[in-house]
Subunit: 331 residues, 2 copies
DNA sequence: TTGTACGCGTTATCAA
DNA sequence: TTGATAACGCGTACAA
């Protein structure tokens, strides 16, 4: 079933390809009968315009690229849902790549997507990305880019993020109000925007309540499980925190593992609070209180802005950073 | 930074486009010096062939389509990892769509991908898909398709699946050996291959140990949470199972919810066993024993077969169904 | 060894 | 109202 082309239709109906093309697009200059004839035949033969030919002609692909650190992560897969949602409704498809937290992979992915002529890019930076020249090179030349979740510090950029400071602040405040005094903070690499914002929220809450900021309770973890385990173990051994404030699914679970292993007894009413979109948080023991990010909305918003840029629907609007509220689930 | 084309290079070096084209491909008929000249200039200008033009010419896109019910699901996101892995290494990119368990969405996705001229399709069927005419139409006309995980019954097809029967059998056998006698089975819609295979494994184990098959202990659940809750609640109320054998992440978690609500006390040593790739199974209370599917390998294998078909590397090999072993994690 | 011309499917421009 | 032609970027058959 080789797909049928405009040429085939033209030949079958003994008219020219340009007439067919115009008829299919409903051009006003075409005779109503001819139009009908063409439409019906196209319908009957199940004609579909060849998107690749269109792309070549229009120099656009009606596809947008998405780069995330990992797909196998609730937050990102929900965000992708949101992106796909919007893109789909506006006639775009979505090409997804993973950086696997590697700067090199991220760079290659960007080049790849650009070479593939995606019409724009949505990206959440890898945990080892220190600067965004590899992206800004393209963006400065009018390649539309929207950063989301993990965003760069640069100001000339479109960004969509969760209000990490606020979420971290409220969570920490709650723990303090519950009487916790030794609140460990186990978090992602310091280069990430989310790390810094959450850390700032944590510190601000401590300060508000006159509690000391103890750097020894703050652990930055990269992405090897061993590293996290060691950090947490030593934390428990040396300081026996009465609360753990974690920055990701994985780090929260690492804490539970350590707690379960019980190298040292933790306070009976130890509290766990984390940034996570895990759907099992309330089933853990003790339950994990969570700062839930609006992953779906984040994806949707980022996609909407990107498509607006692509379709030139943002006249007048400049760069902006959109901040979405997080949800506290106390358990 | 408009991308540079062969034409630009030709003009800059005062030679013809065909010479450039041939030089770039290292054609033997081109003068070594010309070649070098072209190569160096291309390198310097960061020339990249336009993949869209190539696609139009070669009538292929070097992209493969993937359709899964949901991305936000450990099993599928791991499988996608495997697919991406292989595809990437063999020079293809991956376009991912979700059917959201809807037959209509699935059908539209297939058409969409086909119109986009992906070189082949990997698909795990939606929970409401009753037949695969919408896919076989294309496949019969030489559009490469490999089914994975949730596959159709038809025999003329490439399939890659987990050994669901064996996994279910071993899990059920284990529960019986542990003394469980009222083993509820909460599972996916009966149209799915995985449902049938797992059910058969469950029944076979019961039979082997001379236990009755009680249809009232078997609940098929579609995809609304309420439905699952009701099924589980009524199961608990009426039969107080001493073991739950679930077919998915979501259903397992639904059971834990119900258990936690404690509408009726379950036996103290109630056991939970489920098909799931959740990474928190061992942290639940009581821990969830799991039949883990080799999601990554499933994806890799399916992708390899698909690419072999696309690249005509399967001469002689016919249709086959590859079955990969599951892993039992007893907790 | 290199160049010219064509075709992939489509649309836009210009001519009829 | 319709048709012929060129163009998007590339590879290749054929000509030189």
């Amino acid at each position: 079933m080789e797909p049928i082309t405009i040429k085939d239709i033209a030949k079958a109906l003994n008219i020219s390809t340009s007439t067919v093309s115009r008829a299919l697009r409903g051009s006003y200059e075409i005779n109503t009968e001819t139009k009908k004839l063409v439409m019906e035949y196209a319908e009957k033969m199940n004609y579909r315009p060849n998107p690749i030919a269109l792309s070549l002609k229009e120099n656009r692909s009606r596809a947008i690229g998405v780069i995330v650190p990992e797909i196998a992560n609730n937050f990102f897969s929900q965000a992708i849902n949101g992106i796909e949602n919007i893109a789909y409704n506006r006639g775009y498809h979505v090409v997804i790549f993973q950086s696997h937290e590697s700067y090199e992979r991220e760079m290659v992915n960007v080049q790849h997507l650009f070479a593939r002529k995606v019409d724009g890019l949505l990206i959440s930076l890898s945990g080892s990305t220190r600067d965004v020249n590899h992206i800004e090179n393209y963006r400065e030349n009018n390649f539309p880019v929207v950063y989301f979740d993990r965003v760069p510090e640069i100001t000339d950029a479109h960004k969509v993020v969760a209000d990490n400071f606020d979420g971290a602040f409220r969570a920490t405040e709650y723990m303090i109000q519950q009487g916790k005094r030794t609140i460990a903070h186990i978090t992602s690499p310091p280069v990430l925007s989310i790390t810094q914002e959450r850390l700032a929220g944590y510190k601000a809450a401590l300060e508000k309540y006159g509690l000391p900021i103890r750097e020894e309770l703050i652990k930055f973890c990269y992405f090897s499980p061993e590293e996290a385990f060691n950090a947490i173990d030593s934390l428990i051994k040396n300081y026996q925190p009465d609360a753990f404030f974690t920055a990701s699914d994985r780090l929260a679970l690492n804490c539970y593992e350590a707690h379960k292993k019980k190298i040292i007894e933790l306070p009976k009413d130890v509290m766990f609070f984390g940034f996570t979109n895990l759907n099992v948080a309330h089933l853990l023991e003790p339950p994990l209180s969570t700062i839930v990010q609006p992953a779906l909305e984040l994806g949707q918003t980022a996609a909407e802005i990107l498509l607006d840029i692509i379709e030139n629907k943002r006249r007048g609007k400049g760069y902006e950073t959109i901040k979405l509220k997080t949800d506290l689930h106390i358990r």
